[in-house]
Symmetry: C2
Subunit: 248 residues, 2 copies
DNA sequence: TAGTGGTCTAGACCACTAT
DNA sequence: TAGTGGTCTAGACCACTAT
């Protein structure tokens, strides 16, 4: 009779709900369309609002829905393909790099993980360049780029400049250090308050954290921590953009 | 008086709780240690259990905690660095590839997104190889590798073989097609029931979905959809394993 | 069998958006 | 000001693990 061991456990309501909603999104809704509100959807499916919200949260995590407080829940467009390394090795500030420099500050306090990558010791000074990335009019990523002060002209040269110009000056200095390699990690994170604001999301929203280490002369010259919206972005890597183009 | 516009909004309880717990984890707990149970923690902090759970969920998402039903909540070890492309271009089944082939089936039904990447038309047959990846005794990823049947010897050659041998035969055929390039995407997903079972998680658990396209003779020879546990893995890319080694 | 995290309910109130 | 999603409560019961 095919006694399958584990099918005795009933499927949770929110999981079933997610499936039903997912199919409805495919067949009955267009991108951008507004769904009925949570109270009405919950009543329609005969579940508590919290249960309905569990299903919506999953669908938002998968990039199928977008929820905005005070506005409503809309059907999300397919995720954007975002090239993490547009050409093979695009250096910060070089042509093909579509990050916008915002400002730069010099400091001694960097996160422990970054200090480890930079092989810096307490007291070493570091420039932090803030950059943002916008695609299709929408913010997709925020970045903090940490550059060893050893590579950058003395502060006195920078201080008279405006914030974006100061940021560009640090990027230029980084490029002159003749970067020769990079490696990366990607992991799941949740947006801190500042990232959330820049990405137009609530704090805690899921993000893909890309940590890039730039190598120059065998040493780590800079570390970038880039925070991408996980709901709207699909990161693309590699030789061609074919995956990005086709999988849309 | 520094009237900051947005600081009027009070910090949610669960957010504050997350911060407090996070600091406690850093200073007062060792990896693997069991936390007090949810009912006790909620009472201790004077919040409802649901609120406490919101904080724990965030910490689990960030890889700080591991929760297991019937067992308890433990302090998670730092995420493992998992090399997505160990050497530059490691082909499926080649030396350096640490995926374990499980079995292989031939079918006509593939997900729409995969069919698009394979440029296959309805009726085209495809081999699906299931593989799994284990690191440090723990399952970290599950994969479905889709290979155009055009590249694989006739079915009659394969049927007498056992499941893992059949899978290896398909991988061998793929290697003989002289793969010459690959590109990838990474995005956030949630584990389907089958992946969840293989990864020892509950359905819906957050995963990093890596889609790899293997190119041979200018055409897409195969597509791999690999599902990594987002709680325990940090994906590493690039020339050296330095990031993986240092960021631990 | 006792203890754990997972699911679910039926409310209440709040922050935010748009009008 | 009305309507939305976000936060929070105080319960109940269930599935699972270990003993």
């Amino acid at each position: 009779m095919g006694t399958t061991q584990l099918e005795t456990a009933p499927e949770p309501k929110y999981w079933h709900l997610k499936t039903v909603l997912s199919e409805a999104l495919d067949s009955e809704f267009a991108v951008g369309e507004i769904l009925p509100n949570e109270r009405e959807l919950a009543a329609r499916f005969g579940v508590a609002r919290a249960t309905l919200r569990q299903a919506l949260e999953q669908l938002e995590l998968e990039g199928r829905l977008q929820r905005r407080r005070g506005v409503g829940t809309t059907v999300a467009p397919p995720r954007m393909g975002v090239a993490v390394d547009p050409a093979r090795h695009t250096w910060p500030g070089a042509p093909g790099d579509d990050w916008q420099p915002l400002d730069a500050v010099e400091t001694e306090t960097v996160p422990a993980a970054v200090a480890r990558l930079l092989e810096s010791v307490p007291g070493d000074r570091v420039h932090i360049v803030r950059r943002s990335r916008v695609t299709g009019g929408q913010p997709v990523a925020a970045e903090l780029l940490y550059v060893s002060s050893a590579l950058v002209p003395a502060r006195s040269t920078l201080t008279p400049l405006g914030a974006p110009a100061r940021a560009r000056a640090v990027l230029n200095a980084l490029q002159e250090s003749e970067l020769e390699g990079q490696d990366r990690t990607v992991e799941l994170g949740s947006a801190c308050a500042q990232d959330a604001k820049e990405l137009d999301r609530l704090p805690g929203a899921p993000v893909l954290v890309v940590t890039t280490r730039y190598v120059s002369g065998g040493r780590t010259a800079a570390v970038a921590v880039s925070t991408y919206r996980a709901d709207t972005c699909r990161l693309t890597f590699g030789e061609s953009d074919a995956v990005a183009l086709l999988a849309g």
